[in-house]
């Protein structure tokens, strides 16, 4: 899959508490409502500036902290086509893929806020259209690529009746 959109830039160590603050958890039965506060404490204007297909681009260790899958779900509901980071906290990494959101590991120092990007998920390549730089991405493990290509873990299960690791 090839994804196109604009970069919304964040720093290192963006925690799940910053993505979905605990104080909004009374909205957790209403995920579209919860999604209106996505990343609010890191960038109050994120949701306002987000266009469908745009990318969340962060530094290292994105999504550290809680296992709350709400963090991956609200990013999906905010319209993000993918999340790009230098590294991901492991639970968020699985959650994103399980929700069908590509989590791309690459050198995000080569991307500035507002840059136009083209992401080739299977090939593992990010093209910064604004600067012309092509950034290699770390390939996903086969098991995760299978889940992502099926559109998420539930869809993967419906199709394969279990995990497909090869």
């Amino acid at each position: 899959m090839i994804l196109k959109g604009k970069a919304h830039k964040f720093g290192d160590d963006i925690s799940t508490d910053l993505i979905t603050p605990g104080r909004y958890f009374h909205l957790r039965t209403n995920l579209p409502e919860l999604a209106k506060h996505t990343l609010e404490d890191a960038d109050p204007d994120f949701v306002k500036n987000m266009r469908p297909g745009d990318f969340v681009v962060a530094g290292g260790n994105f999504g550290l902290g809680s296992s709350r899958e709400h963090a991956a779900i609200v990013i999906k509901l905010s319209g993000a086509g993918a999340v790009l980071a230098k590294s991901f906290a492991r639970i968020f990494f699985r959650n994103a893929i399980n929700q069908g959101v590509p989590a791309i590991i690459c050198d995000t120092d080569l991307i500035a806020a507002g840059d136009e990007l083209e992401v080739d998920v299977e090939k593992g390549e990010v093209k910064n259209v604004t600067t012309g730089v092509v950034i290699p991405a770390k390939p996903l493990p086969r098991a995760m690529l299978n889940i992502l290509q099926d559109g998420g873990l539930v869809e993967h299960f419906q199709k394969n009746k279990g995990f497909r690791l090869d």
């Binding site: 009374h26 550290l64 902290g65 809680s66 899958e69 492991r90 959650n95 995990f163």
Partner: protein
């Protein structure tokens, strides 16, 4: 081939003789855990998978602990959703208000975790159970839904990092401090995707409560799991709580580690993690003057009986400073009763503490002690991220129960030696 304890447990659960780091495995799991925050999504996804019943009603465990007793109508509805599923599936191990407590203190108490087990939970602190010699890791709700349906999950075998603690910790230094020292050394992503294995004299001689408080925070260094070979105290603890058979694993002497970190436990002071990362640690002697508004003693990190005893030892005969709200939360019904019977509640109440029923409550900014803008808390919990305990302009300082209790008396961050 020589293996680490983590590799041995994963191999056994994948039906393989040996495994190596980065292998992708499908493993059988012994416990699949979720709570009132994560179970509702897991249940919804479980139904979408199209399976009618959970794979084993004894092994799917659900605990109401985060927003209980019902914080508000929405929380009550979430808990009800989980409760009705537990009833429908006739889950053997469903723990509601009054029968349970904070999940990661509760499951070991109930004898549900054994050495050699493979445990997954929809809570990041599921890694706690590694202190009992189990492989345990946190995952999201959809992974848990898949495991609830099949009893299986895929994992990538982690490389192992070894943390060796030589010598014995000094006065007022606990497992919490040894763990903060490790997180301070490697950083909040220093063990990303990896296993943190803890060994050495200090670990071998450590109580079960303190061991659990260490592995609890493995996720705070980004680790997949934290693990310790069971010591005698651990084996005695498990055998007193379950009759079920289990296998004890330990790493081979020549097992391969990606890196080894050594500590002299006797040199470690009580540590305080300053905002806004658990890796931002300073020795108690170097904290300076930091006035505080609240102290929370509890949580899956430090809400066990030994923690209550340590806090009471410091608080006995003292009162919390006038400007400090002291909140004590025994992590489970069992801890609550034991603390009460030992007279610890008298000590807490004499110190003007509010003693709460078991709940995760303030640790995640849920309820029972949420902070206002500009307020500071010392907490025995595990995270001090921006907004963790309430307003995004509030601050959380992580410490052991002795430091937390002393800070309550002093009205600023300080150690028990000052009392």
């Amino acid at each position: 081939m020589s293996s680490t304890i983590t590799e041995k447990i994963l191999a056994a659960h994948a039906g393989q003789k040996t495994v190596k780091p980065n292998d992708l495995l499908e493993i059988d799991v012994d416990v699949v855990l979720s709570n009132d925050v994560t179970a509702p999504i897991a249940i919804t996804e479980f139904r979408r998978v199209g399976v009618k019943t959970v794979f084993d009603k004894d092994k799917v465990v659900m605990v109401a602990d985060h927003y209980v007793p019902g914080k508000d109508v929405k929380s009550a509805e979430q808990a009800k959703f989980m409760r009705e599923f537990a009833e429908e599936q006739d889950l053997t191990n469903y723990f509601d208000v009054g029968c349970g407590g904070v999940e990661h203190a509760l499951l070991p108490e109930k004898g549900l975790i054994k050495p050699g087990d493979a445990v997954i939970g929809a809570d990041s602190h599921t890694c706690t159970y590694g202190a009992l010699g189990a492989f345990a890791t946190g995952m999201g709700s959809t992974d848990i839904a898949a495991a609830m349906a099949t009893g299986k999950i895929w994992v990538k075998v982690p490389a192992s990092l070894k943390f060796v603690y030589n010598g014995r910790p000094g006065r007022w230094v606990y497992g919490k401090d040894l763990m903060l020292a490790a997180i301070g050394r490697v950083g909040v992503d220093g063990a990303l995707y990896k296993a943190m294995e803890f060994t050495g004299e200090a670990i071998d001689e450590m109580s079960v409560d303190q061991r659990l408080s260490m592995t609890n925070m493995a996720i705070e260094a980004g680790a997949k799991n934290g693990i310790m070979a069971p010591n005698q105290a651990t084996l005695d603890y498990v055998r007193s709580r379950t009759d079920a058979p289990f296998t004890v694993y330990a790493s081979d002497a020549d097992a391969a580690y990606e890196e080894v970190f050594e500590f002299d436990a006797g040199e470690i002071e009580p540590l305080v993690a300053f905002p806004h990362l658990p890796s931002n640690v300073r020795p108690i002697s170097q904290v300076g003057t930091v006035p505080i508004n609240q102290v929370v003693i509890g949580s899956c990190t430090n809400g066990r009986l030994e923690d209550m005893r340590v806090a009471a030892e410091v608080l006995r005969g003292h009162k919390a400073a006038k400007n400090v709200r002291l909140i004590v939360i025994p992590a489970t019904q069992e801890v609550y009763r034991a603390a009460m019977k030992e007279g610890l509640f008298d000590v807490f109440l004499d110190a003007n503490a509010a003693v709460s029923t078991p709940t995760c409550g303030p640790c995640l900014g849920g309820h029972m002690g949420v902070l206002a803008a500009g307020e500071r808390a010392v907490a025995t919990t595990n995270r001090n991220f921006v907004g963790r305990m309430g307003h995004k302009e509030s601050e959380v300082y992580l410490a052991n129960p002795a430091v937390a209790a002393a800070s309550a008396i002093l009205g600023r961050i300080g150690g028990p030696d000052e009392i």
